[in-house]
């Protein structure tokens, strides 16, 4: 037996019921689970930043820059799992050069570039321009030149120029909110528009993806806010933390409602795929959906955050609870992506059986590689925080 196909022969022996013979191997694996997870963090973190700026939630001010830089760090990595899962990664650029316009996937490159170049980079630049000029003046050596280059030749720190920065930054944020919605709603559409797959094909998919993105992004920034302050041995701004948690609570409620509505609708209509999906949920996705996504990722955080809205224990306790909640929410949203991507491929399109999926440890689509793509953004973020320390920024009113 050719060792290249050993895992397929193993999967063949585990087929449950009838599947089309081409369906034994899952086409999309862990890397495509990461893709909506990472883009979700990007969109969610950005939306949290815009809450402060556009909707004027002043208490979130300390998270504004952290949220922007987090969004940026993850956006830089967002395409990597996509490119590496391709059978022909070197042809990836064709998607930009000759996009096929009836394909939902073809537009990703443009949505991505729009978001990266127009929204995030511009917003960060306008927010940092004044400080870059100052840091270029104060620093020495390589750092001086780096800041000078990043300021793009700008050397104006007059109040007038700062005012212009703020005005332009505001405009970019206003454009950025629909863009963030577009970015992640669009990722949902990639799955939601596949009529062959009843687990994916729902008009709710973009909306569910959007709200789950906000949930995960806000949770991540909340976690990072706690961690950064702890590492820097700073007192955590509890008003800010409580406010993030409050928004997280609200968005989880909306997300939960949307997801429940989708499932209730699916089960009540009980179309052709009803039985296979019932089996999918009670069997193959039993643990990842009911335990990890709904139990650990939704009910626990919802209950904890709900209680904390009324009952406020000591700051240390709250910090710990928020930290744990943040971690649980991120795990839950990861498994939500898993259940969509992997779950949608476990059952046959004949609706008569299941194939199986085993995550390998090594290889381009293995656990280790996936972990790398999840860890790299944190290193990028650490570098960004070092290069553009938010705590050394001049405090300005937005």
């Amino acid at each position: 037996m050719n060792p290249e196909f050993e895992h397929l022969y193993q999967a063949l022996s585990k087929v449950d019921g009838f599947i089309y013979p081409n369906e034994i191997e899952l086409s999309w694996s862990i890397l495509i689970v990461l893709y909506p997870f990472i883009t979700g963090l990007v969109a969610g973190a950005f939306i949290l930043a815009s809450l402060e700026r556009v909707f004027n939630v002043k208490s979130l001010r300390p998270t504004y820059v952290i949220a922007l830089l987090t969004s940026f760090a993850f956006l830089l990595v967002a395409t990597m799992p996509l490119i590496f899962h391709l059978g022909q990664p070197l042809r990836a650029w064709e998607i930009m050069m000759t996009p096929h316009l009836t394909s939902a996937m073809a537009i990703f490159g443009f949505v991505y570039l729009w978001y990266l170049m127009i929204v995030l980079l511009l917003e960060i630049w306008f927010d940092y321009r004044y400080d870059l000029v100052l840091w270029a003046r104060e620093s020495t050596g390589v750092k001086k030149w780096l800041y000078k280059a990043l300021a793009l030749g700008s050397d104006d720190i007059s109040p007038k120029s700062v005012k212009l920065d703020q005005k332009l930054g505001y405009i970019v944020t206003v454009i950025g909110i629909p863009s963030a919605f577009l970015l992640h709603g669009y990722v949902g559409f990639i799955f939601g528009s596949i009529k062959a797959n009843p687990w994916w094909s729902t008009v709710m998919m973009p909306i569910i993806f959007l709200f789950s993105a906000m949930v995960s992004g806000i949770a991540l920034v909340m976690l990072l806010f706690i961690i950064i302050n702890k590492v820097r041995k700073q007192k955590i701004d509890m008003l800010c933390l409580d406010t993030i948690a409050k928004y997280l609570f609200y968005i989880i409620i909306i997300d939960f409602t949307m997801e429940s509505l989708d499932q209730i609708h699916r089960f009540y209509e009980a179309e052709e795929s009803f039985e296979i999906i019932q089996l999918l949920i009670s069997g193959h996705l039993n643990f990842t959906l009911l335990v990890m996504q709904v139990g650990i990722g939704m009910f626990l955080p919802l209950t904890t955050l709900g209680i904390l809205q009324f009952y406020k224990p000591a700051e240390k306790v709250r910090q710990l609870l928020y930290f744990i909640t943040g971690v649980l929410v991120l795990i839950g949203i990861f498994f939500m992506r898993w259940n969509v991507v992997i779950g949608g491929q476990l059952f046959s399109k004949s609706f008569l059986g299941f194939t199986s999926f085993k995550l390998s440890l090594i290889g381009p689509e293995g656990f280790l590689m996936a972990s790398i793509w999840l860890i790299v953004p944190f290193f990028i973020l650490a570098f960004l925080l070092w290069l553009f320390p938010p705590w050394k920024k001049t405090e300005m009113e937005h």
């Binding site: 063949l12 009838f18 013979p21 059978g87 042809r91 064709e94 998607i95 000759t98 491929q345």
Partner: protein, 255 residues
Amino acid sequence: MTEKKTSLSRRNFLRNAGVTAGTLVATSTLPSFNAVLFAAVKRNTKGPWYGIAIDIEKCIGCGTCAKTCKIENNVPQEPFFFRSWVEQYTIRKDGSLKVESPNGGIDGFTQSVPADQIEKTFFVPKMCNHCAKSPCVQVCPVGATYETEEGIVLVDEKYCIGCKYCIQACPYGCRYFHPDKHVADKCTLCFHRIKKGLNPACMDNCPTKARISGDLNDPESAISKFIRTKNVYVLKPHLNTGSKLYYNALNQEVR
């Protein structure tokens, strides 16, 4: 002042009208941007327009079609890659269904349900439906999967980026990822043979002549007559894929 206002608003009106008209003209000349209405594209009525017909009553489940296809098209021999395969359906007396397709039927079939429990059993050969509104063509992000003017869905293997979106989009499981070429692969209706005036290999080698292909635009072709005279049905019609694979005597259990 009043005069100035009037002229300004007239200028505005003219400018707006110009922009609107320009946009309309520009969009109307860009049919390729008609992305949302993919399924509304008109079928080709000039020249040959290929379809396939399979007579389930004639299929004996020998698997020659699946075997021939692998040889003719150099499809990997492992039992995970098929352009063409056969499924065996068995409906038990209690109404329950058993479907099997060991190695795509290439090695033939053995009946695993005891004879006294069988209500009825039949074979269903499967292959690409060469849909007129192919979901796979619709979703290919680079246009590597396309429909020829003869209505045959092909993959440009030098262009495919291997994203596998088309495999997800095909409701019939007709596509697979080629393990050596690292691109999507599927039935070409033996395009290389059709171009020489030959039949697809699976059709020529079927011992009971259960499958035919031909020009749907020609009312006198064998396939047109087959569709006219038999009770034909396509798979998953509710998905509106414009499937051009017509089955005679298809049981409703088949999916």
